[in-house]
């Protein structure tokens, strides 16, 4: 499988493309270094195109990093069912509209974020949302957590197999749980 190429072939990136995250430990370190990270989780964390739902991994990563989660689409109840309260739920376009606004004070009113991790939003939609942030939210670093390369993010995994990616999630959670 090719690396650092857009998963959907025609969704090529522009002159500035995402750096490839070489291994999951690097992402864990980025999250640890971030002062105000946030995680945006779309519906595919419970309804993936293939493989098992990975909402549990999202919850584990969020808890380990004390990182708030914004649930997009209709999945807030899936988090609540699992005993986890997202910091907010709102449509994906709404959270991006706020993230791109440098004067936004965040979900808790304590200030903007410095690192945004996206997971589980349909590839083509996430591509565009990340593009909006790349152009208009230069105060942010964005990360695509899913297993396909997202050229419009600041950082993204390359296209990796389902098996490898599940191992990545496990590694990230483990690393973040080490204080």
């Amino acid at each position: 499988m090719a690396t650092a190429e857009a998963w959907q072939r025609a969704e090529i990136g522009g002159p500035t493309k995402a750096f490839v995250i070489p291994k999951p430990d690097v992402l864990a370190a980025m999250v640890k270094r971030a002062k105000r990270p946030i995680l945006v989780a779309g519906h595919r964390v419970v309804e993936p195109s293939e493989g098992e739902p990975y909402i549990e991994s999202i919850i584990r990563i969020s808890k380990a990093a004390s990182m708030p989660v914004v649930a997009t689409a209709h999945i807030v109840g899936e988090f609540v069912k699992r005993g986890f309260q997202p910091a907010a739920w709102m449509p994906a376009v709404d959270i991006v509209a706020r993230l791109r606004d440098p004067s936004w004070m965040g979900l808790d009113g304590k200030g903007h974020y410095d690192l945004v991790i996206f997971a589980g939003i349909p590839y083509y939609m996430e591509w565009l949302l990340l593009s909006g942030l790349k152009h208009f939210a230069t105060h942010l670093k964005t990360v695509a957590l899913d297993r396909f390369y997202q050229p419009q993010a600041s950082w993204s995994f390359s296209n990796v197999s389902l098996k490898d990616w599940n191992a990545y999630l496990e590694t990230i959670a483990n690393q973040l749980e080490v204080k």
Partner: protein, 787 residues
């Protein structure tokens, strides 16, 4: 009373001597004198120019700010480029990315509006030639007095005959030229003004839709605001395979009408099947309900490959560019009928039908361009009758054994999946098919939008789309449904009946499912949403491909939504207005509420009526599978008129949303027209253009976007009931913004009182008031002292 039209006449008198005076070098300029019986006062903006409604646009764009989601980081529209516009960089002309994105929004809207205007122009010329310029515009008899509400609103004229539309189209063409000019390098430099121009293009688009549909309704005798418009067969399995089949594809029904006429004149109707794809199918079914509808645009490739069509007639818009290539693969001649699509085929317009038919049947030519609809209709029928026995429904789909054999070659390289806009997991299904189990492949059929991109990338020559269709063949043959033929306008009496409960909020909303079939998870989502909102006593309107998709599902009683629900424009009704151009009747209904129910002057009074609709008419457009530039321009007309539009996740590829920020309190004040006070009304409606990630999210936002500042307490309670109930069912929790929509305790739904009051207490909710809402200072009837 006489009024001046826009067509100027100039009179010059060099020297005139009479008994009482002499005149030298007199020059008079005046318009065409027309008899005028419309006594409604002319409003401020007849035939508005590009900047005439700019203030209104800027006002709504201040509240609903563009969120740009660039699909390209560069501009490559001139030879100084490509220019990298990433994150604040400017191009060689000085353009930045917001301006470029808004420029593309205008470009998209102009393409769509030009398409509909050109369609309307062709239709008008055709019917004037056939029926004469003085043919009356009767689209509903005594049931329709406000027969062209958009034209009245925008242009300030009341058209009565076909020829009255000519100056309307002159105006549209003029404005579209100016808008197109603004797209050139080195023109507009403000993204907000580009957006304003895109809204202008959308408004023009709505006028063109109305002209096109009224012209065809009046002359062809389509159902005229008829709630009892007949049911029509729809689906991939509805044609009788043993009969010759003429398949019409596109949006311009002129030739399809002639096909039906020729069949009837020659006692052949019933012996030859006439079926359509996309909006020509809608419109020919409005002309004759015994014609058949195959389905939306996504059925084109699969249906042509099925080998069923004996002749394919192409008109314009949303026709697959490879339809001719595909037709050749099944040995079906193609007749193209308009200048928009000519396919390098010989122009045989001046030749005799006998010659053309012979050349097509004998394969001397693979197709022909015939610009005369009656001749094209005759040639299509006669050719179909002669080629059908020879073709024997030659297919371009392999048999099942070949599918399985070829599937064995699949290397699971993932290229088909990476080409699929839906990210369908084709490779694993193909591998399983190669092992003899075709069910996983067949299961992809419902989610497949039929684009065929997968077939151009397979390194071992597998044809995934074709194989999916083959393995789902049994399902395709079972596609037999009923759809109501497009009924056209909404009757004035219907508006009188529902105007009050809509404006007061007691009917929870009008939801229009419109647009194309680029659905994220198949067509069933649309039928499900239509059913949900009709069951909730919303008024549901459908058109275009969405109207078709709504029909392609049966409930437990075996009924489609058009059989299960009332056909009236009333609470709980499901109303198919017709093709894309019939969308004009949906916007028209909103305008008619202002005119008929509220007695507002609509004549050239766009801003006031848009303000009325934004603040009072709980209407939402839903284009769940929007793909086209036309869908964008229709949406753009809705935004300017104050009607929010929801699209599916693929709709983010329009690269720009118009979103409110509900927490920004300052954005949600209106004037109370009674007092001049500025009153907080909450985020109603919260957005103007919104892409939902899932159908569940769409259903919740649709219910929410139906709320309006003017809702009575009873109406708001009903709307909140729907919003909260849907949110709890689909999200599993209570909404987190209820306090923003409760103005007084009387707004709280009785059945939810306890939990909502508890929620309001937690949010430290403060009671507000319900104004007579307007965004326009000039609408304030009584100013406060000193104001």
């Amino acid at each position: 009373m006489h009024s001046l039209s826009r067509k100027n006449v100039q009179v010059k008198i060099k020297e005139l001597k009479t008994d009482i005076a002499s005149i030298k070098d007199l020059e008079l300029s005046f318009g065409r004198l027309i008899s005028e019986t419309w006594t409604e006062q002319m409003g401020p903006t007849p035939f508005p120019n590009v900047l005439d409604l700019r203030e209104w646009d800027h006002q709504i764009l201040q509240r609903y700010k563009p969120l740009y989601l660039p699909h390209s980081d560069v501009c490559d529209l001139c030879t100084m480029g490509k220019c990298d516009l990433t994150a604040g960089k400017k191009g060689a002309c000085g353009i930045d990315v917001p301006t470029q994105q808004s420029r593309l929004a205008l470009l998209t809207a102009v393409i769509g509006a030009a398409c509909h205007t050109a369609h309307a122009r062709h239709m008008l010329e055709h019917v004037i030639e056939k029926y004469g310029p003085r043919f009356p515009l009767d689209i509903g008899g005594l049931n329709i007095e406000v027969e062209a509400p958009i034209t009245r609103l925008v242009c300030g004229i009341r058209p009565k005959t076909l020829s009255d539309f000519e100056e309307v189209l002159d105006y549209l063409e003029n404005q579209l030229t100016h808008l197109t000019a603004a797209l050139h390098t080195g023109q507009e430099a403000s993204n907000i003004d580009f957006e304003s121009k895109a809204l202008h293009a959308g408004m023009l688009d709505h006028v063109s839709l109305e002209v096109g549909d009224i012209a065809q309704i009046a002359t062809f005798g389509f159902p005229k605001a008829d709630a009892d418009a007949p049911l029509v067969e729809i689906g991939g399995g509805v044609v009788e395979a043993q009969k010759p089949l003429v398949l019409c594809i596109g949006h311009n029904v002129a030739t399809a009408v002639e096909i039906v006429d020729y069949l009837k004149a020659n006692n052949l109707f019933g012996q030859v099947e006439v079926a359509g794809l996309c909006c020509t199918a809608h419109d020919v079914a409005r002309y004759n309900p015994n014609t058949k509808i195959i389905g939306p645009i996504s059925w084109q490739l699969r249906f042509i490959r099925s080998g069923a069509p004996d002749v394919i007639v192409i008109d314009e818009q949303c026709v697959r560019v490879d339809s001719f290539e595909e037709a050749q693969k099944i040995n079906a001649p193609v007749i193209v009928t308009l200048d928009k699509i000519s396919l390098n085929l010989p122009n045989r317009t001046k030749d005799s039908p006998n010659e053309i038919v012979s050349d097509l049947v004998d394969k001397k030519i693979p197709g022909a361009l015939i610009l005369e609809p009656s001749k094209a209709g005759e040639v299509a029928v006669r050719t179909a009758l002669r080629v059908a026995p020879k073709r024997q429904k030659f297919k371009n789909i392999p048999d099942m054994a070949e599918v399985i054999e070829r599937a064995k070659k699949c290397t699971v390289c993932q290229e088909c999946r990476r080409a699929c806009p839906q990210d369908l997991v084709i490779p694993e299904a193909m591998k399983t098919a190669g092992e003899g189990n075709v069910n996983p492949l067949a299961n992809l059929y419902d989610d497949c939008i039929g684009c065929g991109r997968c077939e151009h990338v397979c390194p071992v020559g597998i044809l995934p789309h074709t194989f999916i269709v083959k393995t789902a063949e049994a399902q395709v043959k079972q596609e037999k449904y009923k759809i109501q033929a497009g009924r056209g306008a909404i009757q004035d009496t219907e508006i009188r009946n529902v105007g009050s409960p809509i404006v007061l909020g007691e009917i929870p909303g009008v939801v229009a499912f419109v647009g194309c079939s680029n659905y994220p998870k198949g067509r069933l989502d649309v039928a499900e949403m239509v059913t949900e909102f009709a069951n909730r006593r919303f008024i549901v309107v459908t058109s275009g491909c969405a109207a078709m998709s709504s029909a392609m599902h049966k409930n437990e009683e075996g009924q489609t939504v058009y059989e299960a629900f009332s056909k009236n424009f009333e609470a709980g009704g499901v109303v198919n207005v017709g093709s894309c151009v019939a969308n004009s009747h949906i916007a028209g209904a909103a305008i008619k509420i202002a005119s008929i129910f509220a007695k507002r002057n609509i004549r050239a009074n766009y801003e006031e009526i848009a303000d009325y609709i934004l603040n009072r008419v709980g209407a939402v457009g839903v284009a769940w599978g929007a793909y086209a530039q036309k869908a964008f321009s229709i949406g753009s007309g809705c935004w300017r008129l104050g009607v929010p539009v929801v699209v599916g996740p693929h709709g983010t590829k329009y690269y720009r949303m118009l979103l409110g920020r509900k927490e920004n309190e300052e954005d949600w004040y209106v004037y109370d027209a009674r007092t001049g006070d500025r009153v907080f009304v909450g985020p109603a409606p919260e957005h103007l253009f919104f892409a939902a990630e899932t159908k569940e999210e769409a259903m919740v936002i649709i219910a929410k976007l139906c709320m309006r500042p003017n809702d009575t307490t009873k109406g708001r309670a009903i709307k909140l009931t729907n919003y909260i109930d849907l949110h709890k069912r689909l999200y599993g929790v209570l909404p987190d913004d209820i306090h923003m929509f409760v103005r007084t305790l009387a707004d709280v739904p009785i059945t939810m009182k306890e939990e909502v009051i508890r929620f309001l207490d937690d949010k430290k909710w403060v009671e507000g008031r319900i104004p007579d809402p307007t965004l326009l200072p000039r609408m304030i009837r009584k100013r406060k002292e000193g104001a």
